[in-house]
Amino acid sequence: MIQFDQVTKRYPGSDEVLKNISFSVNAGEFVFVTGHSGAGKSTLLKLIAATERPTSGTVLVANQNVSQLKASAIPFLRRRFGLIFQDHKLLYDRNCFENVILPLRINGVSGNEAAKRVRAALDKVGLLHKEKAMPITLSGGEQQRLAIARAVVSRPSILIADEPTGNLDASYTADIMAIFYAFNQVGVTVIMATHDALGMSTTQNRVLHLNQGKLVPSTPSHADLSALNQTELSIEKFA
């Protein structure tokens, strides 16, 4: 599904943010990208989502070489992803329904079909009753769930989340994680960057640990394992 081969990324005027990274993610996997802030997590995700191009090496997404893709083809590649950002990037001038329908408009889906899909997505994140509410009136956790609804409404095969729980307290974090697990269980590939322990909550999930731009083998700590139980409880609640 996603393959990195000796990828190096350097921004103009800075050191190498990613150094010689190689890995691959299979369809249906749930992969964490961990590391301290500045370790290159966001850059790694941007390379997958084709908002950045590698300085050297190849990035393959669904057998397409991202670095050789024409600029006009990139929007169509991005539609395969659901993107979730730490700062939500919601549009505060319109209500929840209008926020979630945006990707469908871009995909050319409209009318009843679009409305049905928007409500289904809002239902999955537990915000169906708030479709008319403005995002600013929602709590931090609800805003992030709304951002997830927007990311999944066009039924992408890959979800890419950059620290989706970074600004949230523990109970909201468990909610959000449960939603991601639920999507993963129906076959969606999830790639999530996180710097907190809760992210690496299970030994079943692969962890790509970045340290100063390099991939290093990681071992989950006890704290992570105890967080696992907590998360799994909330999965049951949502499933």
């Binding site: 539609r79 990707p103 871009i106 050319g108």
Partner: protein
């Protein structure tokens, strides 16, 4: 195809609803477009109509032969004989000073100012005159004939009736060039105004554009609503310009009809000038489209650049 159409319709709907939300400022922009389009078009209409009038006059080949005031009836019949022999003359007729005097008095009856002036003259100031229709319409041949006629004894002056019309025509063709420059300058002004307006709108929708990009919107998806906005400003501005022009032409015709009457002319500006109106609306839309295209292309480039640098 239906998908494409659907997107266009959605974009237009979106733009119209945004315009409705900012009704006053949208109207102001349309008004600016309207006034800017109206100015050169009115100027053009006026000059175009005047030059049609003078074109018509220039095709006439009449020469007026004014005799000396004290010309005797013998002199008149001598000249008459000369004209009859001249092969360059198609036809001619004499209007005696008395006949001319009568005509003037009759025509000025309806207008008080002129009839007062005529009455004050007391005695007839008009000369006898021959009005000559030449055989040829060539300017050189006409000039030759005029010079020949001028030398006949007893003739005060031989005049082309249309000399002033020629001078006017030269002036008018100069004015047409002037209009072209004025119109080009105003087009540049409109490009800047519409471009700037669209740029401001883009800035207020920066977040939406950024997010749309991230979730896979193509450049044309982002661009389309703004292009329609520019085009609609042009359309509404153009329609306003047409309305203003019609109003002004109507007012103008009302006053010109009095003057035209005195000149035995039914000169008036046409109220419905389809070609001019369509040109005004069409070029306003085109200018709007081009202005917003430049604005949106520049703005998108800077937003994408911002997005990458963070």
């Amino acid at each position: 195809m239906s998908n494409w159409l659907n997107h266009q319709l959605q974009a237009i709907k979106l733009v119209l609803s945004r315009m409705r939300d900012n009704l006053l400022s949208s109207f102001m922009i349309c008004l600016v477009v309207g006034v800017a389009m109206c100015l050169p078009s009115l100027f053009y209409l006026g000059i175009d109509n005047l030059s049609k009038l003078t074109d018509h006059m220039q095709t006439e080949t009449e020469i007026s032969l004014f005799l000396e005031l004290d010309a005797s009836s013998d002199t008149i019949s001598e000249i008459d004989a000369l004209l009859a022999k001249n092969s360059a003359i198609k036809q001619y007729h004499l209007i005696t000073k008395d006949a001319a005097w009568q005509q003037l008095q009759e025509k000025s009856k309806n207008n008080h100012d002129i009839s007062d002036a005529v009455n004050q003259l007391g005695k007839n100031p008009l000369p006898d005159a021959f009005f000559i229709q030449a055989e040829s319409t060539e300017p050189e041949a006409l000039e030759l004939l005029r010079n020949e006629l001028q030398t006949i004894p007893g003739v005060e002056q031989a005049l082309f009736n249309t000399e002033w019309a020629k001078r006017l025509a030269t002036l008018l063709s100069l004015s047409k060039k002037l209009i072209f420059f004025i119109a080009s300058l105003l087009a540049v002004v409109l490009l800047v105004i519409i471009g700037n307006t669209v740029r401001m709108q883009i800035l207020t929708q920066k977040d939406e554009i950024e997010v749309s990009y991230l979730i896979g919107a193509t450049s044309s998806f982002i661009r389309t609503p703004f292009l329609y906005a520019g085009m609609l400003y042009g359309l509404f501005g153009g329609l306003l310009a047409v309305l203003m022009m019609m109003w002004m032409i109507q007012t103008f015709n009302y006053s010109v009809s009095q003057i035209s009457y005195l000149y035995n002319s039914d000169f008036r500006l046409a109220l419905f000038n389809g070609v001019v109106y369509l040109t005004v609306i069409g070029s306003a839309m085109l200018i709007g489209w081009i202005g917003s295209y430049f604005a949106v292309t520049r703005a998108i480039a800077s937003i994408v650049h911002l997005q990458k640098s963070h």
